[in-house]
């Protein structure tokens, strides 16, 4: 008897714990939730656009999930309940195949050199990154910003010798902003987003590796109508304005 009672108490506690963490969905009634998965570099702009969308659609809550594009693709394929996906590159969007409905390019991004405030190593162009003694940090070739950096360097016939190949733009910016590195190669929008913590130096070779951002409503979206409306907002005048303010280029 006592055993049974202890067990039921355990089971009850587990159920309560699970309920309390909010695993239940709440699509019913007038409240509606739109889930948007977007690449980390879109954090600022999409937070702003989500707010606009909520203001225009009464009773709709926009839930935003940011992360590396390949992580997000993996999550969507594993059944994460996303309605819209905005990728930092076409390669990851392509991985979704049919699951993404009619992907459209909505922004582009180019590389820029980020240096600590005051530019202690005196970097002026891409060539300077190969100067001896310059501590350079780039994205690893395995991640999109690293691929772009590599192709830019290759077309300029330069061999970059970074002291570290980071997993993400954030890691590169962190090392530059702290002064640990003399220079890093990231996207224009990242430099802009970092504010006064880093300075940006544009270089002409960047035009050779423009990164295009596609967006799509997802086939399995629970809110397919809202999903399409969100995509329209991003592609529309207001969306493009917000993106341009953040430094993104035209698609």
């Amino acid at each position: 008897m006592r055993t049974t009672r202890t067990l039921s108490a355990l089971a009850l506690a587990t159920v309560l714990a699970v309920t309390a963490t909010g695993c239940g969905s709440d699509d019913s009634g007038s409240k509606q939730t739109l889930t948007v998965f977007a690449a980390s570099s879109l954090t600022r702009t999409f937070t702003e656009l989500g707010r606009q969308f909520e203001a225009e659609h009464h009773g709709v809550t926009v839930r935003l999930g940011f992360g590396g594009s390949s992580d997000l693709v993996e999550q969507i394929r594993s059944g994460a309940p996303a309605d819209v996906f905005a990728s930092a590159d076409t390669k990851n969007m392509d991985k979704l195949g049919d699951a993404a409905t009619d992907p459209r390019s909505f922004a582009s991004n180019t590389l820029e050199i980020a240096v600590p405030p005051g530019n202690p190593a005196g970097i002026t162009d891409l060539q300077d990154l190969t100067k001896p003694g310059v501590k350079l940090v780039v994205c690893a070739p395995e991640v999109p910003c690293g691929t772009a950096t590599q192709s830019v360097a290759r077309s300029a016939s330069l061999t970059l010798k970074p002291v570290s190949e980071e997993q993400s733009v954030t890691d590169v910016l962190g090392k530059v902003a702290s002064g640990e590195a003399d220079a890093g190669v990231v996207y224009v929008t990242d430099v802009k987003g970092a504010g006064s913590k880093v300075e940006g130096i544009t270089f002409p070779e960047a035009a050779g590796a423009v990164n295009v951002y596609p967006i799509a409503a997802l086939r399995d979206a629970k809110q397919s109508r809202l999903a399409q409306e969100f995509v329209d907002l991003v592609l529309g005048r207001d969306g493009q304005q917000v993106l341009a303010d953040a430094g993104f280029g035209k698609p």
Partner: protein
């Protein structure tokens, strides 16, 4: 054979079993995703071997540093009384509870170029950031508490009676430490060192924050796995398996030796 003892309440086995499943199932799931045909090729690729070799080297070095610094720390904590000892112990164990990334940031603010000691180090020509030394430092920082806590426990359990006996036989404090204290707590020291090695081997957050990530210099096995995950999930899974196997190979013999040692002296 273990004597039957008083027995356990039967309901205890349910949560115990659930816990075991919770730990083992993800491992099994990972093994099931391993691409058998390419496993050997993935594990023996130059980048994998480089990362593994770096991980083993740095983990061994940080374990050594942990022993050299941690043994005296544990002895001071276990055998002396001083003001603020409780606070000192909490601070020493802090890296256990702090997220590794925070440890990395703290190290950066200390030994980084613009850190507390960074300038002084720069003047004497020492730059640790982005070097394998930084990897060892990050690993030592997070692994040291494991050694200290397990050795301090062993010292307290062993008590001071043998040390007192040795002193009355004419042994100086150094002799007592070398010939009595250390041999008595050797099992605790070994298991502490193994824990420290395992923690170093798995270290990720502090390393990537403080040391960066460059093949052959700072890109340890966990960082390689994290990186491969984007590009080549099959390789990431294969390397994860490799890491698990290496960890098991290190831990299993050491823990068996510890158990045997305990049985032998009791």
């Amino acid at each position: 054979m273990r004597p039957p003892g008083v027995g356990l309440p039967r309901w205890l086995y349910l949560p115990a079993g659930l816990g075991a499943v919770f730990v083992l199932l993800p491992l099994a799931a990972m093994v099931s995703r391993v691409d058998g045909t390419h496993l050997v090729a993935l594990i023996t690729s130059p980048s994998s071997r480089e990362a593994l070799w770096l991980s083993l080297r740095t983990s061994a070095a940080s374990t050594l540093v942990c022993v050299v610094l941690g043994v005296p720390m544990a002895v001071v904590l276990a055998r002396t009384d001083f003001r603020g000892q409780a606070a000192a112990r909490s601070l020493v164990l802090l890296p256990l509870v702090v997220p590794p990334v925070v440890s990395g940031i703290a190290l950066l603010y200390t030994f980084g170029r613009r850190g507390l000691l960074g300038h002084a180090l720069h003047v004497v020509g020492v730059e640790v950031a982005f070097t394998s030394v930084a990897v060892v430092m990050a690993q030592t920082f997070v692994a040291l508490p494991f050694l200290v806590i397990s050795l301090e426990g062993a010292l307290r359990t062993a008590g001071q009676r043998y040390e007192v006996a040795a002193a009355t036989l004419g042994a100086s404090p150094s002799t007592v430490f070398r010939r009595v204290t250390l041999p008595l707590v050797l099992p605790g020291l070994v298991s502490g060192a193994v824990l420290a090695f395992a923690r170093s081997l798995g270290e990720f957050g502090a390393t990537i924050t403080f040391a960066g990530s460059l093949a052959g210099t700072t890109r340890t096995l966990p960082i390689q796995i994290y990186l491969e995950r984007f590009d080549d999930p099959d390789a990431a899974v294969a390397l994860s398996l490799l890491l698990v196997v290496v960890a098991v190979l290190v831990i299993a013999p050491a823990s068996r030796a510890t158990v045997r040692h305990r049985r032998g002296t009791r």
